[in-house]
């Protein structure tokens, strides 16, 4: 395992991460999903010791946590980076004096391929360009793990697709893995191997994406259809103005339910029903 988290707890006055146990295996892209304030960033910060955990254990590369092990982790935070008054040359100078494995040639190769001017202040670059600089900085240290917190937020679909391709290339090396926290779950449907779903500080599920897609299906029912539906089969339920959305296990799927399928079930649908839906009292 590249990252192993066991029974991690972190309590705030109004929120708590509760008993989180997850693994980031080698060669996999693991998606971390959950609503705003679910605890995704807190979890990432606890892994990196940016925040102190109250209890639990974090192992990096099969060793107990040590700061020096972060040499092999590339980070992109949603809202945190180096001073934006620096330019690419400054950034290279800083990074090569921090990371033993920093590869200036690779960094400038990325910068050149992204067509980013070397002497322009980072703050003068577009949002997409800034993100690419961060990604180049994260990858150019030859990490074994990339931990990415909303790396594609605010980017247009073309740039998102380009960046996702870079991530896919990164895990072609089977020693490497990615923990990718994002709100854009459609991105994960294209590249993730596993999904960790956190809601309100609790782990809802941690499973391979294929398994999730094979396990869950969302049906849309009218009032009458809902009344006649076997309530025992419903995992989560959400009443809308005109219909009911129900999440069921695919093993309960029957021939007659085919009529209730109006769209392909997405991670968004599953997440939404878990967060905003209710369990069905029979």
């Amino acid at each position: 395992m590249n990252i192993e988290i066991t029974n991690l707890n972190k309590k705030f006055t109004d929120f708590a991460l509760q008993d989180i146990s997850i693994n980031i295996p080698k060669g996999k892209i693991v998606g971390l999903i959950g609503e705003n304030g679910a605890g995704k960033t807190t979890l990432i910060k606890c892994i990196l010791n940016v925040m102190h955990k109250d209890s639990g254990n974090v192992k990096l590369f099969d060793q107990e946590y040590q700061d020096s092990l972060k040499e092999d982790i590339g980070i992109i935070f949603d809202d945190s980076f180096i001073n934006e008054s620096f330019n690419i040359m400054d950034l290279n100078l800083i990074m090569k004096n921090i990371f033993k494995k920093w590869d200036s040639r690779l960094f400038f190769k990325y910068i050149k391929s992204f067509k980013i001017p070397k002497n322009k202040e980072i703050r003068k670059l577009s949002t997409g360009m800034k993100k690419k600089v961060e990604i180049a900085a994260a990858i150019s240290r030859h990490p074994k793990v990339l931990i990415l917190d909303e790396p594609t937020s605010g980017l247009d679909p073309v740039m998102r697709s380009e960046i996702l391709d870079m991530f896919s290339e990164f895990v072609e090396n089977e020693e490497c893995s990615i923990l990718l926290s994002t709100h854009i779950t459609s991105d994960l449907e294209h590249i993730a191997d596993e999904i960790i779903f956190i809601s309100n500080g609790k782990l809802i599920f941690d499973a391979p994406l294929n398994e999730i897609k094979e396990s869950f299906i969302v049906l849309e029912l009218t009032e009458e259809e809902y009344q006649n539906f076997n309530k025992e089969e419903i995992i989560r339920l959400k009443k809308n103005r005109l219909d009911y959305q129900v999440l069921i296990n695919k093993k309960h799927m029957k021939e007659e339910y085919q009529a209730y399928i109006h769209n392909l079930t997405t991670l968004d649908d599953i997440m939404l029903l878990y967060i905003r839906g209710t369990s069905c009292a029979v």
Binding site: F77, F81, I82, F86
Partner: protein, 219 residues
């Protein structure tokens, strides 16, 4: 650690134009006043105050989380900031000295306008600046840069308030056990030694407190 010190110096690189303009302004004022103290001390003073600005810049760009995600221990992060500060103190003194001698050899002002007392003032200013930083740094590491000014002001006002009450109503500063005038005279007589000791002691205490506070801080 070296990378973090370089990061702080690069911040300075981006402000050099402003520093030059301020120096030119203070130099012109010095010429008009016929006293070069301002010209000698302005640039060093700016460099010394810029050390606190590095905290502010880090806070503005949320760099703290990123810094803590690097393979550097919290202790080393604090140490690098203190090392940067001491390098800046040395640099500021050196620059002050260079300006002093440049003025001395090029302008050749009369003795009233330039004398060795000015170097003493430069040294005192440096020491005072180190002590101020030594007080500020642990507070910044504890509560962050933005809150630190208010916290410092609160502490100073509280101490002044307590001091006033003690001196006016209890007369604690003027009795046979505690004579404030004697203490002030002692400090004046042994200025360099007292200031030197204050700088060393405050720096050591400040460093230890900063590490303790930063070790427990969440971002």
């Amino acid at each position: 650690m070296r990378g973090l010190i370089i990061k702080d110096f690069l911040y300075l690189k981006n402000t050099w134009k402003n520093l030059i303009v301020i120096f030119i302004g203070s130099f012109l004022i010095s010429i008009s006043l016929g006293n070069f103290l301002l010209a000698i001390c302005s640039l060093p003073l700016l460099l010394l105050t810029s050390t606190i600005n590095t905290f502010q810049t880090d806070e503005f760009y949320n760099t703290e989380s990123y810094t803590l995600s690097l393979p550097i221990s919290r202790k080393k992060i604090v140490t690098s900031r203190y090392l940067y500060t001491f390098i800046m103190v040395a640099l500021a003194f050196f620059i002050g000295l260079v300006i002093y001698y440049l003025i001395y050899f090029i302008i050749r002002p009369n003795s009233r306008g330039l004398n060795t007392d000015m170097l003493k003032y430069l040294l005192m200013m440096e020491s005072a600046s180190i002590i101020v930083n030594a007080i500020f740094y642990p507070v910044i590491y504890k509560v962050g840069c933005e809150k630190s000014r208010l916290v410092m002001l609160s502490i100073v006002m509280l101490l002044l308030g307590i001091g006033s009450i003690l001196s006016v109503y209890i007369n604690v500063f003027d009795n046979k056990y505690f004579n404030l005038i004697k203490i002030i005279n002692f400090i004046q007589d042994r200025g360099v030694i007292v200031l030197g000791c204050a700088v060393i002691v405050s720096s050591i205490i400040s460093y230890i407190l900063s590490i303790l506070f930063y070790r427990h801080r969440d971002f």
